[in-house]
C-alpha cells in the first residue's frame, strides 16, 4: 500500500451511492479521489467508456459499473464493454450491484440497519437483485426512521424509499461505525479484485 496521498484517481460511476463507494475505496488505498463523472445511469456511463479510457492514457482512472443481469459473469461483461483498458484504467464490475459490496460487511450493515446479522445474505454475490434485497431488509428494520427512509411507500411506484441513497451514503462514509472495505472484500471476490486493482494503480 502506498504511503503518500499525493496522487489523484478520477472516476466514473452510475449513481450517487456508487460515487460514495468509489471515493471510499480510492481513499482506502491511500489515494485521493479526483473528479467523479457520470452519475446518469448505466447506459450513459457505458456509452462514454471509451472517452474515459482515452483519459486514462494520461491519468489514473477507476470506472465502476454494476453487472446487473447483463451477463453471467463479470469477466465476460468486462471484455464486451472494454476489451482493451488503458494501463492506468481500473475498470471494475460490482456483482451484481454495488449494494452487494455493502452486504459483504454483514456485522456493520446489520448494526446500521438495525436488523439481525443472520438476515444479511452471507454470499452477497449470489443475490440476484441486491438493491431489492437491501430495500426488503430495511423494511424489516426495528427502527422506523430506517424503514421510512429506505423502503418505498405503498403507491409510490418506485423501487426505493425517499432517502434510500442518502442513508446508504451515510453508511459508506462513516469510517468509525460504517462500512469497512477490507472486511467486505473477504466475502466479495469482485470487491477484493477491485481493491487489488486500485492497489496496483496506486503503485504505478
Amino acid at each position: 500500500m502506498p504511503t503518500s496521498a499525493a496522487f489523484l484517481v478520477s472516476g466514473a460511476v452510475e449513481g450517487l451511492l456508487d460515487e460514495a463507494v468509489l471515493k471510499r475505496l480510492i481513499a482506502h488505498v491511500g489515494a485521493m479521489p479526483g473528479p467523479v463523472y457520470g452519475r446518469r445511469g448505466k447506459s450513459a456511463l457505458l456509452k462514454r467508456l471509451h472517452s474515459y479510457n482515452q483519459a486514462a492514457q494520461h491519468e489514473l482512472w477507476m470506472v465502476l459499473v454494476d453487472l446487473d443481469e447483463d451477463a453471467d459473469c463479470a469477466p465476460t461483461f468486462r471484455m464486451s464493454c472494454l476489451p482493451q483498458p488503458a494501463p492506468k484504467m481500473c475498470f471494475r464490475i460490482a456483482v451484481r450491484e454495488v449494494e452487494a459490496w455493502l452486504f459483504a460487511d454483514r456485522e456493520r450493515l446489520a448494526r446500521f440497519l438495525v436488523v439481525p446479522v443472520s438476515s444479511i445474505p452471507s454470499e452477497p454475490e449470489a443475490v440476484a437483485s441486491p438493491k431489492d434485497a437491501m430495500v426488503h431488509l430495511a423494511s424489516r428494520s426495528r427502527r422506523s426512521e430506517i424503514r421510512e427512509d429506505m423502503a418505498p411507500r405503498p403507491g409510490s411506484g418506485r423501487r426505493v424509499g425517499p432517502a434510500y441513497t442518502s442513508r446508504l451514503i451515510q453508511f459508506v462514509q462513516d469510517q468509525s461505525q460504517g462500512w469497512q472495505p477490507e472486511t467486505a472484500a473477504s466475502s466479495s471476490p469482485s470487491l477484493a479484485r477491485t481493491l487489488a486493482c486500485l492497489g496496483r494503480l496506486a503503485n504505478l
Binding site: 422506523s144 403507491g155 418506485r158 423501487r159 441513497t165
Partner: protein
C-alpha cells in the same frame, strides 16, 4: 431524533374551479409534492391557492383582503370559465392523528364587484360542522362578505383548520432583495426575502443560534470555505448575516450578506424556511442558483426533514437534476398541462407512459421532462435573426 410523522396535518386533496388557469381540476397531494409544467402553466397560481387560504385566516387579512390583494374576483377567475363562474376551492386535510377535515369555499362578486361567499362548508370526519348560507345569512346577506373561518368568535369548533391554514408558509428568497432590503421597507414576512434578516433576528436567540449552526454545517457542503455564520446588528440596529470565510489569512475573513453569492443566499433561505415553522411549506424552484449536484440532494433532504417533523412540502420545479432522484414517488409528481380549456392536473402515476419508462429503469427526469416541454420551443432560437 424522535419520529413524528403522521402527527402533522396536511392537505390530502384539492379541487379547484375557475381559479386562474384552472377551469375544473382535482388532485391528490402527498406529504411531498413536486409541481411540474411548462412556463405559465400555472404552477405559481396553484401554490397561490394555499397562500389564499392562509390569507383568509390572517389577522388584518380575511377573505375580502385576500381577494383584493389578488386584484379582485375578476382577475382570479379563470379566463376559460364559461357558465359556472363561481370560484371554488375545496381541500381535504388529514394525516393528523386520524383527524380528517374538509373545507369548501365558493365565491363570486356582487353588482358592486364586491367578493361574496356563495357557499362555505366545513366537515370533520363525517360530521358537517358548518354549512353556509345558513338562516342568518339569508336574513342578513352582508354576512356573506366574510368567512366563518376568519372569525375567532364563531370558529372555535373548527379552529384547528384556521390554525392549519395560518401555518402555511411560502418562501422564495430573491438574493437581490436580501442584499438591498430598502426595496421592501416595512414589509413583514415578505415571501421574497425583503425582511429575511429581520425574520431571522426576530427568532429567539437560542433557537436562532441552533438553526444558524445547522445551516452553517449544511451550507458547508455547497460552500466549503464558510466556517462560521452569525447574525449581528450594525450601529443603526439593522441586522446583518456575517459569514467567516477561510482563505490564506490564518484568521479567515468576515463577510456580510451583501457579499454572499446568490447561491449561498438562496440555499440559506431554503434551509431557514425548512427549519422555520411546522405547517405546509410552499417553495418555488428551490434549484435556482444552485449547483446541479447540490440540487440532486434536495428531495432527500426534504424527505428526511419530513420524517422528523411530518411537515408537508409543496414545490414547483423545472429541474431535471432534482427529478433524477430515485426516491421520488410517482404519486408525488403533479404534472400541469395547459390546454384550450385551462390547465389540467395529472399525477405521474396516472400516466402509463411515464410509469412504464420508469419501471424499465429510465430516470423520472428523463421520463417526465418531455411532457413539460413547450411545443415549439425551437422557434426561440430564430428570435436571434
Amino acid at each position: 431524533m424522535k419520529k413524528s410523522t403522521g402527527k402533522a396535518l396536511r392537505f390530502t386533496t384539492i379541487q379547484l374551479e375557475n381559479w386562474r388557469n384552472f377551469t375544473r381540476v382535482e388532485t391528490q397531494l402527498q406529504r411531498r409534492a413536486f409541481l411540474l409544467g411548462p412556463n405559465a402553466s400555472g404552477k405559481s397560481n396553484f401554490l397561490d391557492v394555499f397562500r389564499f387560504l392562509h390569507d383568509i385566516v390572517t389577522v388584518g387579512g380575511g377573505f375580502q383582503e385576500a381577494v383584493r390583494k389578488r386584484g379582485g374576483v375578476s382577475s382570479l377567475r379563470c379566463l376559460a370559465a364559461r357558465r359556472y363562474t363561481d370560484i371554488v376551492i375545496r381541500v381535504t386535510m388529514g394525516g393528523g392523528n386520524g383527524n380528517t377535515w374538509e373545507y369548501d369555499i365558493e365565491f363570486t362578486q356582487d353588482n358592486l364587484r364586491r367578493p361574496v361567499i356563495r357557499r362555505e362548508r366545513i366537515v370533520q370526519g363525517f360530521v358537517e360542522l358548518l354549512a353556509r348560507p345558513d338562516d342568518k345569512d339569508k336574513e342578513d346577506p352582508e354576512r356573506l362578505t366574510q368567512t366563518y373561518l376568519e372569525q375567532v368568535n364563531v370558529n372555535k369548533e373548527f379552529r384547528q383548520v384556521a390554525d392549519f391554514f395560518g401555518s402555511v408558509r411560502y418562501l422564495h428568497v430573491v438574493p437581490q432583495l436580501v442584499r438591498e432590503p430598502d426595496r421592501s421597507v416595512g414589509k413583514r414576512n415578505d415571501p421574497f426575502g425583503g425582511d429575511f434578516l429581520e425574520q431571522i433576528a426576530r427568532t429567539p436567540e437560542k433557537t436562532r443560534h441552533a438553526r444558524l449552526g445547522r445551516i452553517r454545517d449544511a451550507l458547508r457542503v455547497a460552500v466549503p470555505q464558510i466556517k462560521e455564520l452569525e447574525l449581528a446588528r450594525d450601529v443603526r440596529g439593522t441586522p446583518h448575516l456575517r459569514g467567516k470565510y477561510e482563505h490564506w489569512r490564518p484568521q479567515g475573513a468576515w463577510q456580510s450578506e451583501d457579499q454572499f453569492s446568490d447561491g449561498t443566499l438562496r440555499l440559506m433561505g431554503l434551509l431557514w424556511a425548512i427549519l422555520d415553522g411546522s405547517g405546509p411549506l410552499l417553495l418555488e424552484e428551490p434549484e435556482l442558483s444552485l449547483h446541479p449536484e447540490v440540487v440532486r440532494f434536495i428531495p432527500q433532504m426534504f424527505a428526511r426533514i419530513q420524517r422528523r417533523t411530518g411537515r408537508q412540502i409543496i414545490v414547483s420545479t423545472h429541474s431535471s437534476d432534482l427529478l433524477q432522484d430515485e426516491g421520488i414517488g410517482l404519486d408525488e409528481v403533479v404534472l400541469l398541462q395547459p390546454g384550450d380549456e385551462g390547465t389540467s392536473l395529472r399525477l405521474a402515476d396516472g400516466l402509463p407512459t411515464v410509469k412504464s419508462l420508469v419501471g424499465g429503469g429510465i430516470s423520472l427526469a428523463e421520463a417526465i421532462m418531455p411532457q413539460t416541454r413547450p411545443d415549439k420551443v425551437e422557434q426561440l432560437a430564430l428570435f436571434g435573426d
